[in-house]
Amino acid sequence: MSWEPVIGLEIHVQLKTRTKMFCRCELGFGDPENTRTCPVCLSHPGTLPVPNAKAIEWTVKLGLALGCEIAPHAVFHRKNYFYPDLPKGYQISQYDQPLCTNGRFLVPGPDGDAYVGIVRAHLEEDAAKNVHVGGAAGRISGADRTLVDFNRGGTPLVEIVTRPDLRSAEDARIFLQLLRQTVVELGISDAEMEKGSLRFDVNVSVRPEGSSELRTRTELKNMNSFAFAARGIAREIGRQIEIYEKGGEVDQETLHFDPTREDAPPLRSKEEAQDYRYFPEPDLVPLAPARDLVERARAELPELPGQRIRRLERDYALPFYDAEVLSGLPALAALFERTVAAGGDAKATSNLVMNQIVAAGVDPAVVDGLELAKLVEARGRIPRAALDEAIAASGTPGFRADDYTADTAITDAEELRPVVERILEGNPSQVEAYRGGKTGLLGFFVGQVMRELGGKANPKVVNELLREQLGL
């Protein structure tokens, strides 16, 4: 029998508002412990939450980007449980009336569009940080005490729950990367897994190919990188298939991976049946996002990465791969579009931008599209080395493609050497910086020599002379 994986994700994104979700303590990263707290986020008796308007605005924005409906009436609930990182004994979250529901997120692929269903996206507060000490460092097991730092407690957190629409670890990776890029481009989160501002859990089950049943799923927690998650998912799929093929049953359980020891088997916990006793948070009044504000936010949404891939494919007849790579860096896509608009051939521009600009480490944001279009046009008739030099210099101020593409260039090294020496003497600080490792300055020197000679020099020879003079 052949098996089909069924995968759903639950993603937590910390919003990068200035202040916390329910108090106005300023958010920071790496501050000394318990220096970003107040009576509210320490849950002193009598303190009350006041929701952060910006966090709500951004959640609506994210919901729209996920293709969700924005609820006309949303409610915060209390989720009750005890843990030292949860100072009120409940988390303010959303339950049956979340802000965003029923979305559809476009994930373009080489064989067409896929959509990942979004069950909901809701707003809640992040827990504080527990540090387990005394046993094996940082581990829960074996610690003899726990230290609590409430700086992070109360950070606005959006939880996004997908439908089980993903069919492979690779699907999940692509979706997560696109989602990450989306929140980053919306400007609402750093979404950095190392900092914990993007975290996710994965629900995995398998079923016979062609069936529509949903079998018992396991939950993988502690995913700390896309690659790690992809490996974890693949391994769990294999494990479940093996169980079924041996005639067994998969248990509903939570698997905790230890990110520091990938080879170790996951920790299993059959968590004590939780009863969170959700009820509407009586310290808060309902949210009712005004329809005109929602519509304005919808109109103001920037182009999303998924849409950009499709548009680049369609408008420029690019292969999927090119569109995906370009879209992956908005500045790269923008340079591509500037260059094509200035007359560059689309596919040739795409190749040059994706490969050579990236390889040369040039900041695409500062490259002039018109000059780059000239290089694209000249690429077949000038020496490869000249093209490489030109690209390396394309990010410097005053870059002119003509300097590199002229036919009457001086190729005599002895004629060029005094000019090169003069330029280096005239720019001692740049020379020092170059020798200190800022090798990107090579383009700057080439540009200076070219300007001195009105563009009439062979860049390859200039380049060789510069390297020689700079002693590298």
């Binding site: 002193h44 008796p45 009350l48 006041v50 209390r78 009750n80 009120k88 310290d283």
Partner: protein
Amino acid sequence: MIDTLRLTAEDAAALLEDGEVAAAELHGAYLEAIRARDEELHAYLTTVDAPEGEGVPIAFKDVISTRGIETTAGSKILAGYRPVFDATVAKRCKQAGLPLLGKTNMDEFAMGSSTENSAYGPTRNPWDPERVPGGSSGGSAAAVAGGLAPWALGSDTGGSVKQPASLCGIVGLRPTYGTVSRYGIVAFASSLDQVGPLTKTVRDCARLYRIIAGRDAYDSTTVELREPVEIPAAEDLRGLRIGVPRELNEVEGIEAGVTDAVRRAIDLCGGLGAEVATCELPRSVEYGLACYYLVAPSEASSNLARYDGVRYGLRAEGNGAIREMYERTRDEGFGDEPKRRIMLGTYALSAGYYEAFYGQAQKVRTVIAREHAALFERFDVLVSPTSPTVAFRLGEKTENPLAMYLSDVLTIPSNMAGLPGLSIPCGLSDGLPVGFQLIGPQFSENTLFRAGHALERALEFDFVPPRLAAKDRA
């Protein structure tokens, strides 16, 4: 010689304004009265020797957070807890220049109707020390009635300002939900808690309400007042339409002496020009108590989860595991009544019971609000006794929680609807004060003050407990 038993806050303010008494002298007179009488009454948990402010001194129920001054909410679990911030009402009183006399005794976490549930011993009624002052704001009520404070703040969830005011023969206001900030008020039931004044006169009540009321950016459930608070001066009730809900006046358990005193007050209303008619609140009264004892404990079970021994308050260590630390801290720190309500609320919210209990209670709440709203189409004010009984004896109801809960049967329905209620003394039954409850629609405090003031003048009730007056003369 300042007669703290008789001095109203308004009189005290006049003395200060005219320079006849210095603020420190006034404050000293109350501290002297506390020294003389509080050993018996036990109205205070903490007193303040050298407070800031040049105005009329005030006492706060120990549920109100006061920066640097121990705030226990009557519980052992908060013994020694000193807030690092002031509650908004405390801040507003400070800004108004009111020096703090001290923090008053209360039922633990405001759960009770007699102040016997305090972890620090009961408060006694100034009219008869064998009897309770009511609760949960019993310390504040006894302080004002016993001349230990010119005025005080309490908090009211199911009747905790109105009922002790009634039992101590003074005036108490439970304001419209949302008009007074709850920020810094140790929470019992968030959708019901409101801070209110306990005073000797209705005019004092209006003055204090004016100081504390209004929108607070730290409490999302507060709103701006619809109109400025007026200090009442009306002498009659002409044009006022008064409804007398049959059920609120006839429910089983109302003592005959209470009914008699309230009847006389209602008759007086007619004499002062009000139109008086009977009306009905059938489901509000029949289901109000049940509704309240689902909603309030449910919210309380969650509000009291923060007392976990981690950041403040009591901690009992146990065997070194976090779970045992939690369980022992909470077992040792909470008294019987909070435990009972935490258990009840946890049960009512738990899987499988939510719809039948908490969910259904919230719908009953809608029914109660609608029933009241319908009456306010025809009436400006509804009246009834505040408490079915006069002050009862210490220990009389402590063994039977349900009997104690019935103390609030007349105050709870309008509280569930978020409505304001004023209790004024209307006479005596067996030598003990009887309270008269006036309920209005949301934001009708000015109407309640006008009616209460006119009636108070006509009733000429003497708020000084005779036994203390006699003692003072001796």
